[in-house]
Symmetry: D2
Subunit: 158 residues, 4 copies
């Protein structure tokens, strides 16, 4: 069966959290996407509630994302939704989070211009860190910085 | 800024919950989408964790979805992700849920055949129920039937 | 680099041309998709020019498409654009056609209801016919029936 | 009925042709997208035939695309397919071309890094040039530079 896909237009909401383990690297950050609708009675555009998506990139894409993105910049992210579950070491609760695994991340040229610089070095090689471990580490780091929004954790009764 | 979009390939995970209010109607159900990857060492396909998506359809699409979908059938859903927040009347906690507002729902012809029957009656008219109210009602009904998976609620600290 | 993707909402424009060779089968048909825009001055929806897409499905999807689709029915097609080139045997000209190789084909539940019937028999096996041959055969058969629209062939100077 | 959508991953194949008329501006260029498949018998990736797409951007996106893209750079384009027909002034033949009207154009961060610079000036205002005229002008300019590929014109018998 085909894989799910998602395309998000939004803004970089958090610093890019970049990590390496052996020869494998990954980067995670949050994107805020605020849909709008046209209020015909008032004749104006209105914002809906901001959707917050956790994005994960790996290898070369992770390195380029770390080097290119700054909080607040408009981005387009294309990827596949994955669910990750892990055991919180302190509370013993099972945590679940949906993550957008990016196949592409780009600056949105609707909002500004970009200067492109091609990579020279080859891509990183095989994955060594487990999926859950990657997401857990990002979530823990996010706990130290107050989230940019009131986005909730997702405690799941074990 | 363009709207986010998502395409999900999965199976109908719950009964379609169909409701009407005045001349407006909507339907909600859950889709389970299980991504796979090819394990080259073993030479076999392996399942990843199932992603559970709450889908909402309105008006004519809601009516046709109610009349057409049965639990377990393979579906393709295309739509936009929306975040809904509401106050739980009993616990006073703020609940948040991401919902895929469907622009299209279909039976997947990769897995079987379909006989199509065109609508005769016109589409339902303007919306009267608020967004949050619709989702809150669905969530409450899901609480009575044990969820098909261990999918967690999402309590959000107020 | 990721593969291109396309999602089309339209109507079945031609009979499904289904063919088999050894244990491999494929089906081709045209979809007409008519985009619209809202004319705010007039307050009405206006049609743009219809886009005609040639769709190709293989194996189980081809069999189910043949058994399910009728000319005029509303469909959703998701797939990847491929370019096929072949030598016209009579004119000796090189012909080129873009084809949407479907990963999913479905009846659109915005316009009617569907009754789903799951497949029992296993999927067809490995491909034996070449890509260009498949498209050439379809194009030839389309030449016998006057095209549903004024869609042009695409003679390419060699 | 929903609008068709397409996402293309490829490289900028031609110079960006940028034009202005009154307060409206647009840009057109070609993207070459080469799909690949994994040949399991040989254990290597093989290229399929390159798909050539004509992309059109308008207003602010057109200006930013003109300022940012260089031939050969990897890009991601998201948009809607439109068909344009026009009368060739010299041959009197009806020409038809499918164009991807971009909702987003970006440098692909899988292949390099980008430095983003936000726009200051406001977007251009209402369209004044007709659709067909825009595409006709681009096609004429392409005739002067030999096409990057053997892509054919599309004469349509009137």
């Amino acid at each position: 069966m085909s894989d799910n896909t998602m395309t998000v237009y939004g803004h970089v909401g958090t610093e890019v959290d970049f990590r390496e383990s052996n020869a494998f690297c990954w980067a995670m950050f949050r994107v805020g996407s605020t849909p709008r609708y046209f209020d015909r009675k008032q004749g104006i555009w209105r914002d809906l509630e901001t959707v917050w998506i956790t994005v994960k990139a790996t290898r070369t894409l992770a390195e380029n994302v770390k080097a290119s993105l700054t909080v607040g910049e408009p981005v387009v992210v294309i990827g596949r939704i994955r669910t990750h579950t892990w055991q919180d070491p302190t509370t013993r609760e099972t945590q679940r989070r949906d993550v957008l695994e990016a196949t592409a991340v780009c600056h949105d040229l609707n909002r500004g211009t970009t200067t492109f610089r091609r990579n020279e070095q080859p891509a990183a090689t095989e994955a060594t860190a487990s999926e859950g471990e990657v997401v857990r580490a990002f979530e823990a780091s996010q706990g130290e910085q107050a989230p940019t929004t009131g986005e909730s954790r997702q405690p799941v009764s074990a």
